[in-house]
């Protein structure tokens, strides 16, 4: 049963179309992320749900009521901002209680609720401090408590972690997820960070240039990207030029060597294709029986910490990147040495050069 529904939403600023034909229906308690590069329309869409922007056309329905043109202060929606936006003249407790004071709740009830929320965000002893006395991560937790205090129907978060350090970002991300699960509140989360979107969400909406590219679970988005944009924006990707040998049996050549893919190919023999292959799908060595094998030379070994990324050069200047986990006992191949790499037949996605849509694999998802 859909709780928050956006139908045919369009938003133009003058002649510039910021969001085009956006459709989404989220169920109660769902965690949905909008993921995309800056300028893709994700924040504009969030601001339309919050009521700070009005759609040029389309409707927004929340819990059965049309809120498309309702002013933001009549919507009962909690919002968390990238800049925290805590009121500098109020203490932590006053900030958290603001929405309840607006709603004219009795003082003792406000007090109780504020205490409850400060415990939820693990800052019970900061009630009487001012925002500038807190660290960035603490301020954003207070902002989260403030947005939740008046029990909104929907929680909106606009890049809430972008202003924080990497380590705090990861820990606060886990905290947001835990609180959201605990309260079961319907949540929309805007981010340009794919790891955040994949890690937090029940479903991810990938956007580009004002349009929805794909809506799906993190697993679907990553493993079965619907469009070339999704494939390249989410995760690392090898885009390998290939030539069709026999479409029916899935045979292709890459860098002069024949491989087989299980994805369906819609092109006659001899035509050029593009194979999308994630670096972590590729293994060193011959792999299990039935794997595709390619011989090449090591062009580059890049030690990234947990992962070692190697770039293997095939014939025709085709480069395949592959990732392996680092181990202290790992013997890294020398640059320039010959090597065999392998990947399973169901690893690569097939994309016609210039086509927008992915292969049949994504339809199966």
């Amino acid at each position: 049963m859909s709780f928050l529904t956006l139908t045919n939403i369009q938003k133009s600023f003058g002649t510039m179309v910021a969001v085009e034909d956006f459709n989404l229906s989220a169920t109660k308690g769902e965690f949905v992320s909008f993921l995309g590069p800056s300028g893709c329309g994700k924040t504009t869409t969030l601001r339309m749900i919050a009521g700070f922007e009005t759609p040029t056309s389309g409707t927004i329905v929340l819990d059965g009521g049309d809120i498309t043109y309702r002013p933001p202060n009549k919507r009962n929606i909690g919002m968390v901002f990238q800049s925290y936006a805590l009121f500098p003249n109020m203490t932590v407790a006053q900030n958290v209680g603001f929405g309840l004071r607006v709603r004219k709740r009795p003082a003792d009830q406000i007090q109780k609720r504020v205490t409850e929320l400060l415990e939820l965000i693990h800052l019970p002893d900061k009630a009487n401090q001012f925002p500038y006395q807190l660290s960035g991560g603490q301020q954003q937790r207070v902002a989260l408590a403030r947005a939740l205090a008046f029990e909104p129907e929907v929680l909106l978060l606009d890049e809430p972690l972008s202003a924080l350090d990497a380590k705090i970002r990861v820990s606060l991300r886990q905290e947001i997820r835990a609180i959201q699960r605990q309260l079961g509140i319907t949540t929309v989360y805007v981010t340009h960070d794919q790891e955040e979107a994949l890690s937090l969400s029940d479903r991810v909406v990938v956007m580009s240039r004002g349009r929805v590219e794909q809506i799906g679970t993190p697993f679907e988005i990553y493993n079965f990207p619907a469009t070339r944009f999704v494939a390249s924006f989410v995760g690392q990707l090898n885009a390998l030029p290939a030539t069709v040998v026999d479409a029916g049996s899935g045979r292709l050549t890459v860098g002069g060597q024949e491989i087989r893919v299980s994805a369906r190919i819609d092109a006659p023999a001899g035509s050029a294709m593009s194979l999308a292959l994630r670096p972590e799908m590729v293994s060193l060595g011959e792999g299990p029986e039935g794997s595709n094998r390619l011989a090449g030379t090591v062009a580059d070994v890049d030690f990234l910490g947990a992962i070692v990324r190697m770039r293997i050069r095939l014939a025709d200047a085709v480069i395949v990147a592959l990732d392996v986990f680092n181990e202290p006992t790992l013997k890294l191949p020398a640059v320039g040495s010959s090597i065999t790499i392998s990947f399973p037949a169901d690893g690569p996605l097939v994309m016609a050069p210039g086509s927008e849509a992915g292969s049949g694999t994504s339809a199966a998802a």
Partner: protein, 262 residues
């Protein structure tokens, strides 16, 4: 090089500070010259015209400040929030009082409002109204920049939207969120306006010759020592007010800057 540079920068400050302080000290000495027990000061405090002039100028300044604030705070807030494209236009207007010298402004005002069809100055309190109007224009840049600098340090848009999303309407946003965070900025703008209006001579001498600065000028001709005494008193009041302002802005954790200073 660095040591030399520091030395040189300090030298300049000391020279500049001396340039400001020498007249002050000389004026103070002069005010005591005739009579070291402070006869010049006693004369002032027994002069009805001193209190009348100061009182009038002070009242004009307070009315100017109230009108300025009522116009500028909501305007500056709204421009930052919804009409950022208007900011260059307002900043241009901010420069006008500098480039239109008061002596020219006063002629225009007398011409425009001193004869039909807009003969305001011939009405009772008419010239007071024109004077206050001129001072609102004159103090506009200081007040606007002070308020705008306060707003700039606030992230007005997010604060407004956060309050809206929690159900707050405009009156509450202005009174509970925006205004309390602008307190020091407003105080700073108001204080500058007070100093400017009380000390303004050119326009006052045409439209209100009984006000403080023209009184001081006449006193300088007839009772030079007492004029020096008044200068010293003005200095003291000014520095005291400035000290209070700096203390107030310290209290707010350095969030607000004085008069638009970065």
């Amino acid at each position: 090089m660095s040591r030399f540079g520091a030395w040189w920068a300090w030298a300049i400050f000391i020279i500049a500070a001396l340039y400001m302080l020498v007249p002050l000290v000389a004026t103070f000495q002069f005010s005591l010259q005739q009579n070291p027990t402070g006869e010049a000061y006693r004369y002032i405090f027994n002069d009805v015209k001193f209190f009348a002039g100061l009182g009038y100028s002070f009242l004009v300044a307070v009315i100017t400040i109230v009108i300025s604030l009522l116009i500028i705070v909501p305007t500056a807030y709204w421009v930052r929030l919804k009409l950022p494209r208007l900011r260059p236009f307002i900043e241009f207007m901010t420069l006008l009082p500098f480039v239109v010298p008061p002596i020219i402004l006063v002629f225009g005002l007398i011409r425009s409002y001193g004869r039909p069809p807009l003969a305001i100055t011939s009405l009772p309190h008419g010239s007071d109204v024109v004077l206050i109007g001129a001072y609102v224009v004159l103090s506009f840049p200081y007040m606007y920049r002070a308020v705008d600098a306060g707003l700039a340090s606030l992230d007005v848009r997010s604060l407004t939207e956060a309050a809206q999303s929690m159900g707050s309407g405009w009156p509450r946003i202005l009174l509970r969120v925006i205004f309390p965070n602008l307190r020091v900025a407003i105080l700073s703008g108001a204080f500058l306006t007070l100093a400017i209006v009380v000390g303004e001579f050119t326009i006052a001498s045409y439209l209100a010759p009984w006000s403080f600065a023209p009184y001081l000028s006449q006193l300088g001709v007839f009772k030079a020592w007492s004029a020096a005494a008044v200068s010293i008193i003005s200095f003291m009041l000014t520095w005291a007010a400035m000290g209070i302002l700096i203390l107030a802005s310290r209290g707010s954790a350095g969030r607000v800057q004085i008069a638009g200073a970065r």
